[in-house]
Symmetry: C2
Subunit: 255 residues, 2 copies
């Protein structure tokens, strides 16, 4: 079992070596820029799931990278003036500030398509389908976010953050060839993980749920999600210690 830090290093090395489609030309520079500097939470969850389920981390790396590409795509487009209009991301100028809006728009498009290209290196169609479905759910969440029609934020968070977190576990299972009949307890874990991440995010940013119910209540809810995630892990007959460490890490993170 490799620790989250080791899985993070594997992800970084894989992303650094990743060959992007040559026909994209120098567009690839903006894509690499957008891909730099993330926490790689989704990739690490995917790899840790694969390893806990008895699979090979090396086999899961393209899936883990594909999750990060989808995440990067969503950030690049979210940061555009047409959506959140954020000039900074990960402590640096956002992609559209660095490369211009047109290039950033296309960089997001290309990151999404490259994510699917990566996923298609697997012959397990269900893995690719799960990534595509999660992406569509995530876009549905972004749409709820800008139209503001979800008063309690529950559906918004389930879609915008939760779908890709759940898919991080799901893709890890497919990469480990876990039969679908055995997915349920793992997937219950994945659902709580996304919720936990978002609640802590809201506490740290002072917005979302924290702004609605107060930081203390939001923190309490995050604690409950973490407890349920641990319960879900306890129901799995495997060494899930690394996944448990990820839960604890997400619960106490400060960035």
């Amino acid at each position: 079992m490799q620790a989250p830090e080791a899985l993070l290093r594997l992800t970084e090395a894989y992303l650094e070596d990743l060959k992007l489609t040559p026909e994209l030309g120098s567009q690839r520079e903006s894509m690499r820029y957008a891909l730099t500097g993330g926490k790689r939470v989704r990739a690490v969850i995917c790899l840790a799931t694969t390893e806990a389920a008895g699979g090979d981390v090396e086999v899961a790396l393209p899936a883990a990278a594909a999750l990060e590409l989808v995440h990067a795509f969503s950030l690049v487009h979210d940061d555009l003036p047409a959506l959140d209009d954020d000039d900074e991301r990960r402590g640096r100028p956002s992609t559209h500030i660095e490369f211009g809006e047109g290039v950033a728009l296309l960089a997001g498009d290309a990151l999404l398509a490259e994510a699917f290209r990566l996923a298609l290196t697997y012959s397990t169609l269900a893995l690719v389908q799960e990534l595509v479905d999660a992406t569509l759910g995530m876009i549905g969440g972004q749409y709820l976010d800008i139209t503001g029609v979800d008063p309690d934020l529950k559906e918004l968070h389930r879609l915008k953050t939760g779908r890709l977190f759940a898919a991080s576990v799901g893709l890890g299972l497919w990469a480990a060839d876990v039969p679908e009949a055995e997915h349920a307890p793992w997937r219950a874990f994945g659902e709580e993980l996304g919720l936990l991440f978002q609640l802590v995010d809201d506490v740290l940013d002072g917005d979302g749920v924290a702004a609605r119910v107060g930081a203390d209540e939001a923190r309490a809810r995050a604690g409950e999600a973490a407890a349920r995630a641990h319960e879900a892990l306890a129901a799995i007959l495997a060494d899930t210690s690394v996944l448990a460490a990820i839960v604890d890490g997400l619960a106490v993170r400060t960035v």
Copy 2:
């Protein structure tokens, strides 16, 4: 053999009945808006290829629709102020004029992901891979377009228009289960078709190649591309009369 007009009607009916991902909520309205009113050239080419190759048009419909979704995605994003800044498309306000920039941006993203979801209804991985690769090539073409680093427009057109046209033939072949070893003459046809389409486009719009070498020379080059497309069809041992009619239709089109 069904005529292009019949294949167009099949495409329209399929797109009208197409279920988009429920999690997208009312975002689906903007996607349907963006999908309305095209010439469906790519879908018709795909279906006609399948039928000429001895396949079942019904089987090819999801692939044909996926091509139209990718095309619609590219138009919605191209029309945004960050790229071409076009207020009109297909005789109506562009998607961002009708729904706002944020919704249009997400509509494009969702159309692209839905296209891949549709393609994934096939178990032929090569079909999905071809659609993804063509999309990446097309984005590379859009990037060349905004950076203006391709002086003779050849590579720009091969990527921006040609890749999806070639894939229209390719997806039609995969949908008809044509073994890859037999693809070459069909694919030679697909390459010429994209070139023909773009040259006529430039003549009609008075830009691109027509602006560089004059309308007469551009028209002459289109005629040569049409002749080569017919030659390619003549090398195929099948009834390619509908594909030949499509070539003639593209060569003389006025819109």
